[in-house]
């Protein structure tokens, strides 16, 4: 692997991640602050499942007769291996995501950024939009959030904006659908 060209941005939570892609500026709007709670809850659920699974495995392994002694005798290592890197990731992820996830609608183009360890920037011109959906899982409904799914003829040209305030998502969906209707130029 090449030399690290820049220090990892993972730890710096307060400062939003810089413009990695050269001269590109950040999208204008952040998602709803409540999205932090959404991601925290989601991460917590995953964490509980993994932690439970690892403890279960640790309790089960000593009964496996086909494992050599030095492996089955040290089964307490399993939860350690899972929880030691897992816990900081759990705590960091929601805040990093809140710093990364941004969106903007300008010049009839939707520009959205998302991701945690892998970042994505998506540009979707409104004229190419086929459908605009807003979706709400039960966690999102609890928090009054919504996910906006903007689809074109290509999965690579489609965008999903998570953690939007419900009223903002609804308004944006309405605006996009309306504008897409006006612009409809069927290139595909």
């Amino acid at each position: 692997m090449g030399k690290p060209a820049r220090p990892s941005k993972l730890g710096s939570v307060s400062e939003p991640p810089g413009p990695v892609a050269g001269s590109l500026r950040d999208p204008e709007h952040r998602v709803s602050p409540k999205a932090v709670r959404l991601w925290l809850l989601e991460a917590l659920i995953a964490f509980v499942i993994f932690a439970g699974g690892s403890f279960g495995l640790a309790a089960w392994i000593p009964s496996w007769s086909w494992l050599p002694e030095w492996l089955s005798g040290n089964s307490w290592l399993v939860p350690v291996v899972v929880l030691v890197p897992g816990t900081p990731l759990l705590l960091i992820e929601p805040f990093v995501r809140y710093a990364v996830h941004r969106w903007e609608l300008s010049g009839d183009v939707v520009y959205a950024r998302s991701g945690f360890l892998t970042r994505e920037w998506v540009f979707v011109p409104v004229s190419r939009i086929q459908t605009v959906d807003k979706a709400q899982g039960w966690l999102e409904r609890m928090l009054g959030l919504a996910t906006l799914e903007i689809r074109t003829a290509s999965h690579a040209g489609s965008s999903t904006i998570k953690g939007l305030d419900y009223t903002i998502a609804a308004g944006l969906a309405e605006r996009l659908a309306h504008r897409a209707e006006e612009l409809r130029d069927d290139a595909t």
Partner: protein, 498 residues
């Protein structure tokens, strides 16, 4: 156009095919009935009832199936159990495929498949299994012509439909007829190379699965035990299979690509191929948005490539979108230029750090295996581990030229109309797509890529695979390339120089 034409039936000759086709699925129950009945006359009676039932079923299905082209739609009517009418509006028809499997060909029949570009599997597509070849050609002509006429009435697409062509002569032009000696290029692609192993595996599986019923399970079991005790025979068998690889690959390739002919007919590109099952695929020319050229290492040495068309709304594009099998590169480029255009710009290289990443990926896994095996070798002092070390080191060594070649493959470019991305080494693929087919851009950066300062740029295309990737471009390229191809989309988000 307002009189209602009567419904047409499939050729009755299909009745000769249907029961034969049902045989494999009937075989097991029939044999079962015979065994259970102890081959008594009663059991033969029941088996006969089964066969007669299959024939009657086929007849009833044939008698209750009809189709017709009425006004602006194709109706396929079934009333076997419940009545169902599938209506396909002609304007939605994007292509008509005609295939002739062996039995159909013997009887002069064909299978007509109507492609509507619907993504929901086969649900909305129409199939007429067992029309005569003449009827298939007639229907294909009628459907495609009317489909275009129906679209022409639609004012939105009127400008790119052809002017009302007189329906008289279906003019046809052969673009390429691939000479048979080029079939020898087939095994170079590396496809079908595993055929002998698949066949052997299938045969072994069958022997164990059916051995029980047919009473030679013990025999198969004994044979495998005997083989297990004579490893030299296993090695010999594997060697034979390996030697058979290119031969089988050549045979399979020949069977699928026999007399590959690409024609142009009334706004459609028609690709015909196949030795046993003759297949004809029609691609609507105005829906072709680009092409993809693929070559494996051996093909590159021989100077041959395979070509696919990138078509909007084409399901199963991997098999149906093929424009050309292995042909010399200049010919492939010439055909692609006729269908799409010539890509007239150099490919720009990706930053050197991309080479490091390619090399790391090509070498590191094998090296890790070598280190692990060496560790185990030291710990257990077993010679076998050291053999693995040597093998892994050889693979790691091969990774050096592989990584360099994978880096050399990387590139992207834009000539004002067409853009292109290329990647891969063992299977190198270059996609060339029209600018107007782009429906969006996506930049992706993994944690490792962020440390290396590179990104993956994906052009979202409403055709073919949906997205074509330029792997490991620099940050400047990642923004600069989309901004160059579609400046109006990126302009609002570029940092203004202060």
């Amino acid at each position: 156009m307002s009189e209602e034409p009567p419904g047409l039936k499939l050729s009755p000759k299909v009745l000769l095919i249907d029961p034969v086709r049902m045989l494999p699925s009937l075989l097991v129950p029939l044999v079962g009935v015979l065994f259970v009945g102890g081959f008594s006359s009663r059991s033969f009676g029941w088996a006969a009832v089964g066969v007669v039932g299959a024939v009657v079923f086929a007849v009833v299905r044939w008698a209750t199936f009809s189709y017709r082209v009425a006004d602006d739609r194709l109706e396929i009517k079934r009333s076997l159990v419940s009545r169902s009418v599938r209506t396909i509006p002609l304007e939605r028809i994007r292509g008509v495929d005609v295939t002739t499997p062996p039995m159909h060909r013997l009887l002069g029949l064909a299978v007509l498949k109507i492609d509507t570009g619907a993504s929901g599997g086969g649900e909305q597509e129409g199939e007429l299994d067992g029309v005569t070849v003449e009827e298939a050609e007639r229907l294909k002509g009628v459907l495609l012509r009317r489909a275009r006429a129906a679209r022409a009435e639609d004012p939105q697409s009127a400008h790119d439909a052809l002017p009302d062509a007189p329906p008289a002569p279906p003019e046809e032009r052969v673009i390429v007829k691939v000479p048979r000696r080029w079939l020898l290029y087939g095994p170079l692609s590396g496809s079908y190379l595993l055929t002998p192993f698949a066949l052997a595996g299938g045969a072994i599986g069958l022997a164990f699965q059916w051995g029980d019923d047919l009473g030679f399970r013990d025999l198969a079991w004994d044979a495998s035990q005997w083989l297990w005790q004579h490893p030299l025979h296993i090695a010999g068998a594997i060697l034979v299979l390996v030697l058979a690889m290119p031969f089988f690959a050549a045979v399979m390739y020949t069977v699928f690509n026999w007399d590959f002919t690409l024609k142009e007919r009334e706004g459609y590109l028609v690709a015909e191929r196949g030795l046993i099952t003759r297949r004809s695929v029609s691609l609507e020319a105005r829906r072709i948005r680009g092409y993809e050229i693929v070559d494996a290492i051996a093909e590159r040495k021989a100077g041959v490539v395979r070509t696919w068309a990138i078509v909007t709304g084409l399901g199963d594009s991997e098999t149906r979108g093929q424009l050309l099998p292995d042909v010399p590169r200049p010919l492939a480029l010439d055909v692609a230029a006729q269908a799409v255009g010539t890509f007239a710009a150099p490919l720009r290289p990706h930053p050197p750090v991309a080479r490091d990443r390619r090399l790391f990926r090509a070498i590191a896994p094998a090296l890790a295996v070598a280190v692990a095996a060496a560790l185990l070798g030291v710990l257990t002092s077993t010679g076998l581990w050291w053999a693995l070390v040597v093998a892994a080191l050889v693979v790691a060594g091969l990774g050096i030229p592989l990584g360099h070649d994978r880096y050399r493959s990387l590139g992207h470019g834009y000539d004002g109309v067409l853009l292109s991305v290329r990647s891969g080494s063992l299977r190198r693929a270059q996609a060339v797509v029209e600018r107007r087919a782009i429906v969006g851009w996506r930049l992706r950066q993994t944690w490792f890529q962020r440390r290396a300062g590179v990104l993956t740029l994906i052009a979202g295309v409403g055709a073919g695979k949906g997205g074509y990737e330029a792997v490991d471009v620099s940050a400047e390229q990642a923004v600069g390339f989309p901004a160059e191809v579609t400046p109006e989309w990126l302009a609002p988000f570029l940092r203004t120089p202060d």
